[in-house]
């Protein structure tokens, strides 16, 4: 067979090969994104995602969406502009959550015995589904960045509230009041993570009384818009083919 001849001999065979490629690429994409996104999120979100006593209504709500919209934006750019596929954000979050759960279960629990109810990951799926949906419905980078980015920030806290609310029930412990999440952080000793490292409930959003989570979520959404634009362009840049010579085909 010469280089100019087709590798397939019929339409059925072409479809079969194409589908095989689909699964190969999807499988590879999933695990590459899992690795890259996981490392990125652990380095930037880190403890906010590791521990329940870091999941507060101010900084966790602000930081986690901002640092996590990165890969979804980049992968969306690649999959949408090259293939008109609108599942970039969801694929990213599926990969990230699988990697995180494997890490939390095998490492945090399996090796160091931190209870899973203390070190489970944040839920990013609602924002990812809405981000992908807006991309498909609008077909626009700008609309996805503005509406989707804002939604990504706004949906984060309510999407996680059913999971963390039970841990925010107060408890009286030796004469002090704390939440169950605080108590987990106190009980389950982390030698290298002293209490003062926690970046929670810090900031100047005091004029809003107890209702700071929505304000933090809005702020997070606004910054997520900017980060979305930035990483969308990273994705587009990485997805270009100008560095491949046409003579190779």
């Amino acid at each position: 067979m010469s280089a100019s001849q087709s590798a397939v001999r019929s339409r059925a065979e072409a479809i079969k090969v194409s589908r095989t490629f689909d699964w190969l690429i999807l499988f590879t994409l999933f695990f590459v994104v899992l690795g890259g996104y996981h490392i990125h999120y652990m380095l930037t979100g880190g403890d906010w995602d590791f521990w329940t006593d870091w999941k507060d209504r101010r900084l966790w709500v602000t930081v986690a969406p901002i640092v996590s919209i990165t890969f979804p934006a980049a992968v969306q750019a690649c999959l949408w502009y090259r293939y008109r596929l609108p599942f970039g954000a969801v694929v990213c979050v599926l990969g990230l959550l699988l990697g995180e759960w494997v890490n939390r279960y095998l490492n945090f629990w399996g090796w160091t015995y931190f209870p899973v109810n203390f070190c489970f990951p944040s839920n990013l799926m609602p924002g990812a589904i809405v981000l992908d949906s807006i991309l498909l419905l609008s077909g626009s980078l700008t609309v996805t960045a503005v509406i989707g980015g804002l939604a990504w920030g706004l949906l984060f806290y309510p999407g996680n509230w059913p999971i963390i609310a039970p841990l925010h029930v107060p408890v009286e412990y030796n004469g002090m009041m704390m939440t169950l999440a605080d108590l987990q952080g106190y009980h389950y000793v982390r030698t290298g993570t002293p209490e003062y490292i926690r970046m929670v409930e810090k900031g100047t959003l005091r004029t809003f009384g107890k209702d700071v989570a929505p304000v933090s979520a809005f702020f997070s959404g606004f910054v997520s818009i900017i980060i979305y634009f930035l990483w969308h362009f990273f994705g587009k840049w990485f997805a270009q083919t100008t560095f491949i010579s046409s003579e190779d085909f």
């Binding site: 999807l26 107060p170 000793v189």
Partner: protein, 414 residues
């Protein structure tokens, strides 16, 4: 010759792989906490732990033990380490093998960070509940913001039983008693499982159709718009609306189920109660101090003045948790860890009682293998070659006085 070389290279590579693979079968438990690696001046000149007591050597799962003692926040705190204005009383154990059921400084519960004052002595207590069976090194420990963990003496404690039987009951302010070990676990799995399944369905919807090659060809040929059908848009809309609906409903249901929730609690505790030690009547001046590297011994020339009304003798030199005792004056009855105790490690050139009003210059030698084992001899490589420690003087009635010393240290190599 080339074939032989190739074979040797190949066999060497195989041998390397076998060695690396074999190494995986020997993975002993990491039980140390790097206490010996911490710079000697950090251990000698920051937090001085003393009067430590581990209430038990063996604890069954679910049973408790206490680690009690005192610590002196050294007045000559090194400039290279941030002051302990934000500190946290911790315990050095390999993860949550115990849970910290309580910790107190000066009788106050300290679940949060505290501010400590230089030159003050504090009493502390840590209540530990055994969780995971094994032999664990239990250290007193103080984390200092900007200074890192300052680890104190450690003692081996054995936890017996089964971790499966561990329970951690807590009663909330809403009157519910829960087991914190497993609380909220099924709820967490449910929500993560549900959302993951929705995400998978979303990808599966798109993956049931040809994905990359045909779609790429279509996009390249300007037919991108044909790739999204009206059905796709309807399904997408359903996913978006469904997502928001699930969030709204679950949020409402959660708020109904947990009407009382509070924010995470944080903040710095100030004004910790200190121990009022009696005014020292013994004054000590360090004339010089040398560390003899080959002999693993530190020698000090001290001028001791007794301004009290009863004769005193030097019984102990304590530095970095290592206790050098003169057995004629002081003996340990607390079960202090053997490796940190030099029961006959303190020699005083003339340790007869120093009478009231008397001043005497003596040669004091603190020698033990602990200098080497605990890498305190590495002090000579530190950026600030000074030593520090606590001297304990006793009168005939057994009354004790604590005096701190802090002076330059000159190493001798011959």
């Amino acid at each position: 010759m080339k074939i032989l070389k190739d074979k040797v290279a190949k066999l060497s590579f195989v041998a390397l792989l076998i060695t690396m693979t074999a190494a995986m079968f020997y993975a002993p438990t990491a039980s140390a906490h790097g206490e010996k690696s911490q710079a000697a001046f950090m251990r000698m000149r920051t937090i001085h732990w003393f009067d430590l007591n581990w209430s038990k050597d063996e604890v069954p799962v679910n049973d408790t033990m206490t680690l009690t003692g005192k610590f002196y926040v050294f007045k000559g705190w090194p400039e290279t380490v941030d002051k302990p204005e934000v500190s946290f009383l911790n315990v050095g154990i390999p993860g949550p093998v115990f849970i910290r059921a309580g910790s107190w400084i000066g009788g106050q519960l300290v679940p949060r960070s505290v501010s400590l004052e230089l030159g003050e002595t504090y009493e502390f207590k840590v209540l530990l509940k055994a969780r995971r069976p094994g032999d664990w090194h239990v250290h007193a420990m103080m984390n200092v913001q900007g200074g890192g963990p300052i680890i104190g003496p450690g003692k081996w404690v054995t936890v017996t039983g089964s971790m499966g039987s561990f329970v951690n009951p807590v009663t909330t302010l809403t009157g519910e008693t829960i087991d914190l070990e497993h609380y909220n676990l099924s709820n967490t799995y449910f929500w993560h499982g549900l959302w993951y399944a929705i995400g998978l369905i979303w990808v599966a919807y798109w993956a049931r159709k040809p994905l990359f090659i045909p779609r790429s060809i279509a996009v390249e040929s300007g037919k991108a718009n044909t790739l999204v059908t009206p059905l796709d848009k309807k399904v997408t809309l359903a996913f978006a609306v469904g997502t928001i609906a699930i969030i709204a409903v679950s949020m409402g249901a959660t708020n109904e189920k947990f009407p009382i929730t509070t924010p995470l609690q944080a903040g710095l505790l100030r004004g910790m109660k200190t121990i009022e030690l009696p005014v020292a009547t013994v004054a000590v001046k360090v004339e010089d101090a040398t560390y003899r590297v080959p002999g693993r011994a530190m020698q000090m020339t001290l001028t001791i003045t007794n301004n009290g009304d009863s004769p005193v003798r030097l019984g102990e030199f304590n530095t970095a948790g290592v206790r050098f005792l003169d057995p004629a004056v002081s003996e340990d009855e607390s079960g202090y860890p053997d490796d940190l105790l030099a029961e006959e490690g303190l020699t005083v050139s003339d340790n007869s009682p120093i009478a009231p009003g008397q001043s005497r210059t003596v040669q004091v030698t603190a020698s033990d293998a602990a200098w080497e084992v605990y890498r305190l001899a590495d002090l000579i490589y530190d950026p600030d070659s000074r030593f520090a420690g606590l001297l304990f003087f006793y009168d005939a009635a057994g009354n004790r006085q604590m005096i701190t010393v802090d002076a330059p240290l000159i190493p001798t190599f011959i």
